[in-house]
Structure formats: structure tokens, C-alpha cells
Symmetry: C2
Subunit: 119 residues, 2 copies
Amino acid sequence: MTPEPEELAVSVGPDAVLRALADPHRRQILRLVQHAELPAGKIAARFDLTQQAVSQHLAVLKRAGLLAERREGTRRLYSLRSESLEPLRTLLDEFWPDALLRLKLSVEQAHPRTERRPP
Amino acid sequence: MTPEPEELAVSVGPDAVLRALADPHRRQILRLVQHAELPAGKIAARFDLTQQAVSQHLAVLKRAGLLAERREGTRRLYSLRSESLEPLRTLLDEFWPDALLRLKLSVEQAHPRTERRPP
DNA sequence: TACTTGTACAAGTTACTTCTTGTACAATAG
DNA sequence: CTATTGTACAAGAAGTAACTTGTACAAGTA
């Protein structure tokens, strides 16, 4: 009865993203995989935590949509999915003072970076 | 021995801010006080929670630097301190793909919105 | 086949979060 | 002074998070 397309569930909402980011270890993981895909082991090696603990952090980040996972043989390669930061940006836009918000919107309208949702 | 200037401690770091924002009730509180100061009681009245629970949320938000508190008689008036979203914006900038980051920076340089910290 | 490597899953512990109920206390009104 | 109102503080319950150690298992290698 779970009709979820599994890998295609893209947006997780702001809660999961914010909670995932609220941990320093996890932010560090994101920094590591921001520019290059990295296997779980190499990531774990950078921390004073057990491999399993890091694996659990990876799972949290993945559930939040912040990590892409690619399997290659026995290894799992992780990389940042920056699209999933969108809810964070939306939140920030919502609370950022109006003056700057208006400026920002005008910039984005002048240089649209992604498809518009048609109303 | 705590030489803290108390009210002047402005920046709390990304952890507290992110954790504070990771709760829907607290985000709702921020929306309520975003444009107008509100007393704790009026805020509490908007939720299906006890006054005390909301008071605790207010405390979390205040510790994160996200709320200003002004006392007026017996009431406490809260309002959003949007400066404290700065760590969030920094984080977002750090992880946002380079293309958009460069655009954003160029805009901010063209229209500086706040004083520069002199080095 | 059996061994090794890379990784996740499972269960348990400890600490933290979020709520509740009960209470204290400061400011004002009578 | 006494009562009322607006609010925070305190303690405890229940859930969740961040670890640990132990184990399973899939993919290669001898």
C-alpha cells in the first residue's frame, strides 16, 4: 500500500532539513561531499566516531534529501543534493526583512535559475 | 565570574538557530511576531498548547537570539530579531551551488545592506 | 569455496526535547 | 493589604536523538 516512488520523493519539508543541519557532524559531512562524491568509509575516516555512527548520520542526511547515494560495487558514494536546501531558502526568505527580500526577488526575476511553477 | 554582557551576546552560532527553527510551533511563533511585537499571552492563545509550553518555546527562541524581549509592566513583548538569521544565511551560502552564490554576492556588493565589519 | 572489505542493520544506553501539572512571583487594581 | 492578572520557573513523563558494540550481508579476491 505504500505507493511511494521511493527514490523520487524529493521534498521532505523544512523540519527534516533543519534538524539534519542542526548537527555539526552532519554539516561537516555535507562540506566533505559538497564538491566530490565520497564513499561512506572515507567520510567516516574523517571523524572521531565509529563507522556505524557516521553511517547513521548519512542516513539522516539522506532521509532529509540532502544526500544522493550511488552504489558502486560494495561501496556507496555520497554527494550533496543542494536542491534540498530549497526549503531552507524559502524559510529564510519568509523571515528576512522585507527590504532585502524584495531586492532578492527582483534579482531572481531578472535571472530565473529554474523552472517557474505555473499557477 | 560570568563576564557576559548578558543582553549584548548577539551571535549564538548556527546550532541553536537551526534547532530552534526545526520546530513548527516555533516557526509559527516567529511568523506571529515578525511584523508586530506581541505579548506572551497573545502568542500562547494562538496555540493548542499550555501557556507554559509556549513560554518554553519562547525561551528557546530567545536563547537562539531569534527573539527580542521587552518588558512592559507585567507583560513581556516579543518580536523577531532577524539579524540572528545571519548564521542560517551563511550556511545556505556555503552550500548553495556556486553559480547562484556568485550572483547573490554580486548583488549584495552592489547594494550593501548593513555596516561592514572593519578588519 | 572460504576470506576479506565496505557498509548497513539491530539493540541497548544515555542524554536531550517537548510536553504536562503545579507553583512562584512581580505588577496592578480594589 | 489582598486579590487578580500575566508570566516564568520546577519537576516529572514520554518520546526522540546520538552514540556504542555486535552482527549481517553483498562484492570482490585467493
